[in-house]
């Protein structure tokens, strides 16, 4: 059984490859503050995508790079690397990026979550040998998914414009600052390039490999992959902001009143969770 979860192929994190990433994160923060400002003042279309044209170009660029380079490399990696090793690689990168999760638990006043996250990080970093193994999950400290975009969502900020970043993939004005915070809170960022470059390459390939099934589903199911990915991304983000339990919006009004939904309602009408 397989599902498309809305996680995107080019949603990897090549940040740790960049040495001067802290300066970059500050610039990115400033930039996104600007974008966020624009986002609130614009008139929201149904899919928050006034930049659809340039977004589509970037999407196509990413997609062809993905198909011609990253997918073959990821498939080679899957072929050459036993599953437990890939699982450990995934664990280790998840573990080293966990400070951002803990910080965002705190920012959302989820103190139990922050405590559990800290416990998880400590257990997996020590008993789990630098995060290669995940004994924390079986100790009742499961992986949680928090980031700065979710924090802003929790604080009531709108999603802002949808934007497809070159290499990085789907994003939004609200989610962009997380690119910087994830970078700043990742210890690997502060190591020398001799370490971070190969690790960044490994992380990217491993992440792409983990998403091979997702993209298969996308390729099979989507009639218009760009729209498919955008809507999946937006809904998935909403789902995460509400920790899997978004307020229900009813389809009743649409089903029972009229055949002609208002354009502005289109995305909200059917988002039932």
């Amino acid at each position: 059984m397989r599902f498309y979860s809305g996680t995107e192929p080019l949603g990897w994190n090549p940040d740790i490859m960049k040495k001067e990433s802290v300066t970059r994160s500050l610039i990115a923060l400033g930039l996104t503050a600007l974008l966020g400002g624009c986002a609130t003042s614009q008139t929201n279309t149904a899919s928050n995508d006034p930049w659809e044209k340039p977004n589509r170009s970037v999407y196509n660029f990413n997609d062809s790079l993905d198909r011609n380079f990253f997918v073959p490399v990821a498939k080679g990696y899957v072929w050459a690397t036993p599953k437990p090793i890939r699982a450990s690689v995934t664990n280790a990168f998840e573990n080293v990026s966990y400070l951002n999760v803990i910080a965002n638990n705190l920012l959302q006043a989820k103190f139990t979550g922050a405590a559990a996250g800290t416990g998880r990080f400590l257990v997996n970093s020590t008993v789990g040998i630098g995060g290669l193994f995940d004994p924390a999950t079986s100790m009742g400290l499961p992986l949680s998914d928090e980031d700065l975009g979710q924090t802003f969502g929790k604080w009531g900020m709108g999603e802002g414009r949808y934007v497809v970043l070159p290499f990085y993939g789907p994003n939004s004005a609200r989610d962009l600052p997380n690119v910087a915070s994830a970078m700043a809170l990742n210890p690997l960022t502060y190591l020398t390039a001799a370490v971070t470059v190969p690790l960044g390459v490994l992380q990217t390939i491993n992440m792409r490999a983990n998403l091979l099934e997702e993209t298969n589903i996308r390729d099979q199911a989507a009639l218009d992959p760009y729209t498919f990915v955008r809507e999946a991304y937006r809904q998935r983000r909403e789902f995460l902001i509400y920790d899997g339990n978004p307020p229900s919006e009813s389809i009743d009004d649409y089903l029972n009143s009229s055949d002609e939904p208002k354009a502005a309602d289109e995305s909200s009408v059917l988002k039932v969770y």
Partner: protein, 199 residues
């Protein structure tokens, strides 16, 4: 003296009918789930075609494709001629069937769990999980509406991603740019590629 009694009685009846609808809606979802589980367990003996045949009557009894078609074509439905509507419904139904036959193509110890339900104004929300063999949970929520006496599924939301909303966004662009015939052709093309690849 009679009044409070009547009130109590009506409250009780109301509560009972609420329970009944909830149970009915949940039963529809569980009917689908047990058919899916059965399909997964017998996936290889059935083969792709066999899985489609097995699920065909199940989807017809558990989904309301007419209502779904109306929703996913959105603003365009009103202006579609009856034959176009029927062609769309037929293609959409086939695609749903092929997608299920493709996605539920093997068994790895999965099971379904029903978590609960919520009553909406005119619909019922049934929350479930599919639990994989290695105990990972995938959230799978269903929206059902009542057509006549029966509850039917009109939307499936997997991990927060609404199938209908996704399709509606896609279809809207295609109908607007290329027309309904092109959309129907694309749906049929998807069905054909599932069938061609199906094992």
């Amino acid at each position: 003296m009679l009044k409070p009694l009547r009130l109590l009685l009506s409250l009780f009846l109301l509560g009972a009918s609420g329970l009944a609808t909830a149970a009915e809606a949940t039963a529809v979802v569980e009917t689908l789930h047990s058919a899916l589980l059965d399909t997964m367990k017998n996936a290889s003996t059935l083969g792709f075609k066999g899985r489609m045949e097995k699920l065909s009557p199940v989807l017809d009894s558990t989904f309301d494709f007419q209502a779904i078609a109306k929703v996913v074509t959105g603003r365009h439905w009103q202006s579609l001629a009856e034959d176009k509507r029927q062609a769309f419904i037929k293609a959409f139904r086939e695609l749903s069937l092929a997608t299920y036959a493709d996605n539920f193509s093997g068994f790895g110890g999965e099971h379904f769990e029903t978590l609960g339900h919520e009553q909406k104004k005119n619909s019922e929300l049934v929350r479930t999980n599919i639990v994989t063999g290695d105990a990972k949970r995938v959230s799978l929520n269903y929206v059902l509406t009542k057509n006549g006496d029966e509850w039917h599924i009109v939307n499936v939301v997997a991990e927060g991603v609404s199938d209908l909303a996704l399709k509606r966004s896609e279809y809207d662009g295609i109908i607007a740019a290329e027309g309904i015939d092109s959309l129907v052709a694309k749906l049929n093309g998807k069905v054909a590629s599932y069938v061609a690849a199906g094992k």
